[in-house]
């Protein structure tokens, strides 16, 4: 339980004591009135106790919202770090492949070490349900974290207080009214936590199942709404309506079946408790009164005190869904992400103070001074083999990449082009052969620092142009940003926008054209100062003008930068220094474009298939 929750618990205890005092005082007032003695003392005691109770409930209730915010921050901070520090190869690319795990990871930012260490075991991501990779994690990090914080702040403390409070009530009842009633009721009260444990266990399954159903029905509804336009054009609006109605009806039928069971248990719980507890209290008090052991005022106090004894069960009923949702989400969260340890439970201000020290990935000096064009070999692949999911997907690749060279990798889908790119990026390890970077065997850390991949669909983050560029180098100056934009031939278009570098790019770069997105990603890669640029299908899905612009950008970089081009469209590989043709995981040909066109392999055939398309 979070430490602050103990404060709320203690205040609840104080409130219970004060209310018990109030009810006992009311009993005394009744007795005094019946005996025709002075009632003032009892009334004053009751008034003071009542005021204390009101104040304590107020303060106790004001703790959870703050605590909730703190917990939310703590869990989310730890979760997002675990998610971001996890192997991206498996989640970012084909979800179906069951990608192998990276043996060694990028150097984790030092102070995220605690969370990272825990997630570092390479736990498979919980994506069993299919769908878009990472969507479950997004839900966990938004709604899930809210549920967890709500549960930890607003259920744990108050529930503990409610379950322990009856002991206090009975202690006072025993001391001031009658020990026998108190002892009998205490035995009954002790049964409550056992009952509650039992029910919590029985409930978790149905609650989780219900949430899944409800989520699925909502997702279905939104999907059909989004597709409505297409459905109407296909004349399939009835299919859509059926689909919405069926999902909702299935939810209703199953949820009601679940509820019928779970509510029955609440009913039994509730009825048993009020039956046993309140009936026993009233029966005992009546019996003791008739024996002359207690007064009418004591009887009244016992009746009023049953409301305090009833609290735990009422609490359980009301915050039941909070508890169930929170516990389910917390379980999922610890499974897929991590549990925040003490090391991560610091305020953002503290972490912010540390960040500038660790962010640059490369030494600054490397940045503009990259013209030292040594003629040496940057990269050498010697009989390289790669396994994925226990299968060899790439074998016998031998290639020498000199500085400033442009190498194109082509081949039909599934030939292993993207796998090769990921190996060079250091995202997946090679199984056999050698991979030398500047003459030395390269591990994934060295490769991740040396290479930058511009993905086929580069991801553009919501925010400004400058924010997107600085992802690669947070401390870069505006001048440096303009320099890389110039190299990527995007400078004029950005300068023409009224807000320049501060232009908002929109969700998924929606405010930019496809060609601008590619060039922005290229500029971002250049800013990182990487020695090797890997471009995955840099011109796919672009119209001709945009394709020409990106092509020009890449040609402009050739010579100064070492480029690996993964290409579907062969037209864009004509200017490469060398072309490596992969087929079914093996190198089929290697040579310059003219040589390959002269042969009768894939390159010549596929080029003919494309037509004179320039």
């Amino acid at each position: 339980m979070p430490p602050r929750a103990w404060i709320a618990t203690a205040l609840q205890w104080a409130r219970t004591l004060a209310l018990t005092t109030l009810f006992l005082a009311l009993g005394r007032v009744l007795d005094a009135a019946l005996n025709a003695t002075d009632t003032t003392g009892g009334l004053i005691l009751g008034a003071v106790a009542g005021a204390v109770a009101v104040i304590c409930s107020g303060i106790a209730a004001s703790v959870p919202p703050r605590l909730r915010a703190v917990e939310e921050l703590r869990w989310r901070g730890s979760g997002i770090r675990a998610a971001l520090n996890r192997d991206p190869a498996g989640t970012a690319t084909g979800a179906a492949r069951g990608a192998s795990r990276v043996a060694s990871r990028p150097p984790a930012p030092s102070h995220a070490g605690a969370a990272h260490g825990r997630a570092g075991g390479g736990r498979p991501a919980g994506r069993a349900g299919g769908g878009r990779p990472g969507m479950g994690e997004a839900d966990l990090l938004t709604g899930g974290v809210e549920r967890i914080a709500e549960y930890r702040a607003e259920f744990l403390g108050p529930a503990l207080a409610a379950f322990t409070a009856p002991a206090l009530v009975l202690l006072m009842l025993g001391s001031f009214v009658d020990p026998i009633i108190a002892v009998v009721l205490l035995v009954l009260v002790l049964l409550v936590p056992l009952l509650v444990r039992f029910f919590l266990k029985r409930f978790r399954g149905p609650t989780a199942a219900y949430r899944r159903l409800a989520g699925a029905a909502t997702a279905k509804f939104q999907e059909v709404l989004r597709s409505l336009g297409g459905l109407v054009l296909l004349g399939a609006e009835d299919a859509g309506r059926r689909s919405v109605a069926e999902a909702a009806a299935a939810l209703r039928v199953q949820a009601v079946a679940l509820l019928r069971r779970s509510q029955l248990m609440i009913l039994v719980n509730d009825a048993l408790f009020s039956l046993v507890m309140i009936t026993s209290a009233v029966g005992l008090a009546l019996w003791r009164f008739q024996d002359g052991a207690i007064t009418a005022g004591d009887f009244l106090a016992v009746v009023l005190l049953t409301t305090l004894l009833y609290e735990p069960i009422d609490k359980l009923g009301r915050s039941f869904y909070v508890a169930m949702a929170g516990r389910t989400q917390q379980g999922l969260f610890t499974q897929t992400l991590s549990t925040p340890g003490e090391a991560t439970s610091r305020t953002p201000a503290e972490t912010a103070a540390e960040s500038p020290a660790q962010s640059p990935a490369q030494p600054l000096a490397q940045f503009p001074a990259r013209t030292s064009a040594q003629t040496t070999e940057l990269l050498r692949l010697e009989d390289l083999g790669v396994d994925r999911g226990g299968e060899r997907v790439l074998r016998g690749v031998t290639l020498s990449v000199t500085r400033g060279a442009a190498i194109a990798v082509v081949g039909p889908s599934g030939a292993g082009k993207s796998t090769l790119a990921q190996v060079l990026q250091g995202l997946i390890p090679h199984a056999t052969g050698e991979l030398l970077l500047e003459g030395r065997p390269a591990d994934s850390t060295a490769l991740q620092q040396a290479a930058v991949t511009v993905a086929q669909k580069p991801f553009i983050f919501s925010g400004t142009v400058a924010e997107n560029l600085r992802l690669a180098r947070p401390e870069a100056t505006d001048d440096q940003l303009w320099e890389v934009l110039t190299q990527a031939r995007l400078d004029a278009e950005i300068a023409a926008k009224p807000r320049g570098l501060a232009t908002q790019v929109g969700e998924d770069g929606g405010a930019l054209s496809g060609g601008q997105i590619r060039r922005l990603a290229i500029a971002r890669a250049l800013l990182s100062g990487a020695k090797l640029l890997i471009l995955d299908e840099p011109t796919a899905d672009l119209d001709r003008r945009a394709e020409r612009l990106v092509d020009e950008t890449l040609r402009g970089l050739a010579g100064d930068h070492t480029l690996i081009l993964i290409a579907h469209r062969l037209a864009t590989t004509r200017w490469a220094d060398q072309v490596l043709v992969l087929e079914a995981g093996e190198p089929a040909a290697l040579g310059n474009p003219e040589e390959l066109l002269a042969q009768s392999g894939y390159y010549a055939q596929a080029t003919a298939g494309e037509g004179e398309d320039r």
Partner: protein, 560 residues
Amino acid sequence: MILHLLTLARGSAGLLALSAFARTLTLLCGAALLAYPAWLVGRLADGQQVPPLGSVIAVMITLAAAKGLTRYAEQLSGHTAAFALLEQLRVRLYEKLIPLAPAVTASRGSGRLLSAATRDVDRVEVFFAHTLAPVVTAVVIPATAVALTWTLTGPALALGLLLIFLAAAATLIGLGRRGARASSTAAVRARGALAQEISDDLRGRQEITIFGAQEQRALRVDRIGAQIGENSGGASVLQGLRAAAGQGWQVLALFVLLLLGLPQAQAGVIGYTELLLVLALVPGTAPALAAIEALGLSLPAALASAANLRELEESSPEVAEPKHPVPVHTEHEAAASVSFHGVSFGYPGTEREVLQEVDLRIKPGAVAAVVGVSGSGKSTLASLLTRVWDPQAGEVRLGGTDVRELSLAALRAHITVVEQRPVLISGSIRENLLLGSPAATEEQVLAACRSACFDGDIAAMPEGLDTQMGAEGARLSGGQSQRLALARGYLRRSPVLILDEITSAQDPLTQAEILRRMPEATSATVIMIAHRSAVLRHVSSVYEVDAGRIRAAAPPAAGA
């Protein structure tokens, strides 16, 4: 507006009423569980006879059992009503949106509009299913308590109790409203930004790893989270006040009743029986009154949501159905001509004219290509032909008839658009193939898949046509989705087939094969929209769209 809100719940009114009634009984039993023993104490204090212990226990057991049963009935009927209501509201929204489609999903910001509509539906559901019954009982139960107090002890105590109930209700509703306002502005915006940021981070994970920017991005999440946390101060004060008010009115009521009633009891004006019974009504009604708070929070939200939904339902469609539709005329049996005459069009709410005085004539059965850079208005031509929108000037004709004279259903049955990013719904491959032509036979389906080069993909799938593909076709690659959509397009056998960038995600060999198989798959008029000239070797005429104007380009020489 309240009337409109109520009409939304008409379908589940019976169950909702049942749930409210059961809740009232539950709360009455709960109050009786306190009032009955208090009455006993009063009888004893007044020196009167009380029932024997056995009868007392029997009454208590009966009350407890009744309370449990009615609560079960309340929960079950309430939840059943909630789910039924959700289903009705969703289907209703869907139906009201059909006339607005496709424009409603094609325009900018449609995603936001639709998720807002979903949220509004949820709010209306929450109001009826989870707020209405508690609020009703929050009024009924205290009112009953006041009436009972009046009957037993006369006006003084009853009026005192009434005033305290009113003050407590006003305070709780007021605090609830303030809470709602505080949470509905800055925090909601910050939550939206946070969700966006996290979704970006997860989808951009590869880039983040490549640049080692994990901590940089995590700190941004922390910062937005801290902004949300800043609001917790206000919420914390409000929640404290709420709890204090909830406890305070009970303490106050106990003392007011006692101070007013005790002298009367001592003077013998009323009995202790009546006084204690009335005192016990205070804790007895507390559970009911606590729910009144939700009224300040949930009713305004539900009213606003009902207003939003009504506005959406009542907005007029972009295109109107003709009063006297004429039947579609097609020149050939399976092919119709398509022509544009001086068509100008700009998207509603924008200045720019996407198309300017476009003239275009495509003969029945021809295979024509429309090429141009992205954003040049190529796809808009297809939207005008299917009447997603109507042009501001000029005329679009199908088979020589102005499309505005044809019924929308007939028009859309005669034209099939295969989109670059096709509509796929979760379900099996087969269900998606049959979306446009539910009556197609297995052979027709397989033949269409063969023509679309989709047969190999199906053969490779574990359960063939019955393979489930996940939400929005998540298990299919871009190329596979396009081939599925093409097969679905062939299946519809409409006289006009528009292929919008359907080969953009295909590798060169597959692309060539698709085009090679096309002539045997369809005899319809085919319009191919593309920015690549690779498709052009298979067409009879080419039109190039450039800056909103169109011109005929020479078809490329065969084999070039």
